[in-house]
């Protein structure tokens, strides 16, 4: 699995840590990535079924705002896309593909990609953030929340990887 197309994880980890530190310093907040997906779900549901979305108490945190899309986290995530694109293109690492393990059918992969995503989306709302907002940001702040989430996530990851053996490897 070693691949020389990528940079050393210690270099990229340092770059990531310094970016996060700059965000703490200038903006007084860390990184998050799951919130914008919930925001988009709320705004999207409100476009398709405004009556239903308006009745969902959890979405009022977005829909009651005058400009819900002018959101710090959403702009951050657009930046993540642009930065990822720049990294992939500049290193000739960009390749249009449907990534899956060799033994997996496309249909199964659609199911796991979507189903796994649903679990992530649901869990991140419950935990008030994801690998970025709780684990990375909270962990760096030495917040208890971050370390509870990190330990639970890795424990569960190892357990499920054992259950779904040879799923990715």
């Amino acid at each position: 699995m070693k691949n020389d197309r990528y940079w050393s994880p210690y270099i990229t980890g340092t770059l990531l840590g310094l970016s996060l530190l700059a965000s703490f310093y200038a903006a007084g907040r860390g990184f998050g990535a799951s919130g914008p997906f919930s925001l988009i779900a709320g705004v999207g549901t409100n476009v398709v079924a405004p009556g239903y979305a308006g009745g969902l108490k959890y979405f009022s945190r977005y829909l009651d705002l005058p400009h819900p899309l002018l959101d710090w986290g959403l702009f951050l995530l657009v930046g993540v896309f642009l930065g990822g694109l720049a990294g992939a293109l500049s290193s000739r690492n960009f390749r249009l593909m449907f990534d899956k393990s060799a033994s997996m059918s496309v249909r199964t992969r659609v199911f796991t990609a979507f189903g796994g995503g649903m679990l992530i989306g649901f869990a991140a709302r419950l935990a008030r953030g994801c690998t970025s907002g709780v684990a990375l940001t909270g962990g760096s702040q030495l917040a208890l929340a971050g370390w509870v989430f990190v330990i639970a996530m890795f424990a569960s990851g190892f357990l499920f990887a054992a259950l779904f053996r040879r799923y990715w490897s």
């Binding site: 699995m1 070693k2 994880p9 990229t12 980890g13 770059l15 990531l16 530190l21 965000s23 310093y25 200038a26 007084g28 990535a33 997906f37 710090w72 702009f75 951050l76 930046g79 993540v80 896309f81 642009l82 930065g83 990822g84 720049a86 992939a88 690492n93 449907f98 990534d99 659609v110 990609a113 979507f114 796994g116 995503g117 649903m118 679990l119 992530i120 989306g121 649901f122 869990a123 991140a124 709302r125 419950l126 935990a127 008030r128 690998t131 970025s132 709780v134 990375l136 702040q141 030495l142 208890l144 929340a145 971050g146 509870v148 330990i151 639970a152 569960s156 499920f160 799923y167 490897s169």
Partner: protein, 191 residues
């Protein structure tokens, strides 16, 4: 003037975009848009996730508390994630399962899509659908969601020690982990 700074909405959103670009670049250049590398840790095959994550945490926490100690940053005005113990524990457990099944987490799915992976876009749709499911079930979940509210708790306050004790412990643990992982990977490479 002490950081963090007051700024206009436009400046704030512009900064968010800029920080996001560095965030995405770091993830992609780590290989963390690739679901095989992302799940590698759970199969003891590729340790990029813990290496990047704990390097970033050590760098950011050292910097954050150093700036605070030097009075260059007002830590009281930095948003620190509050602890809701049980929802965050259960959230972490469910999240780990979703991570292994999809091969992504929210930020890395965006990076995966940015490097051309259509399956990552499917995961992004799933994350939104999962958020909608949470919102739809929220009336039933609200009690649990708001339970075990401890407010802002940090490890130094919890253990009653100076923050540098925790950071030093973190540096030692991360360093030892990296040394073990490098040795283990070296052996994997030979085998």
């Amino acid at each position: 003037m002490t950081a963090p700074f007051e700024m206009s909405d436009a400046a704030s959103l512009g900064l968010a975009l800029l920080f996001g670009i560095f965030f995405g670049l770091s993830l992609e250049r780590s290989g963390l848009g690739n679901p095989h590398k992302l799940t590698g840790v759970f199969y003891f095959q590729d340790f990029t996730v813990p290496k990047v994550m704990f390097t970033a945490i050590v760098v950011a926490s050292t910097g954050l508390y150093l700036l605070s100690d030097l009075n260059l940053l007002d830590l009281g005005r930095v948003y620190i994630i509050p602890t809701f113990f049980w929802p965050q524990l259960v959230g972490g457990l469910v999240f780990g399962a979703g991570f292994v099944v999809s091969g992504y987490c929210p930020g890395t799915a965006v990076t995966g899509f940015a490097s051309g992976r259509i399956d990552a876009l499917v995961t992004m749709a799933g994350v939104s659908a999962g958020s909608l499911l949470f919102a739809a079930l929220y009336p039933m979940l609200e009690g649990f969601y708001l339970s075990s509210d401890r407010g802002v708790v940090t490890l130094p306050s919890l253990f009653g020690v100076n923050h540098w004790v925790v950071i030093m412990a973190l540096v030692v643990i991360a360093g030892a982990m990296f040394a073990i992982l490098e040795r283990f990977e070296h052996r994997l490479g030979k085998g």
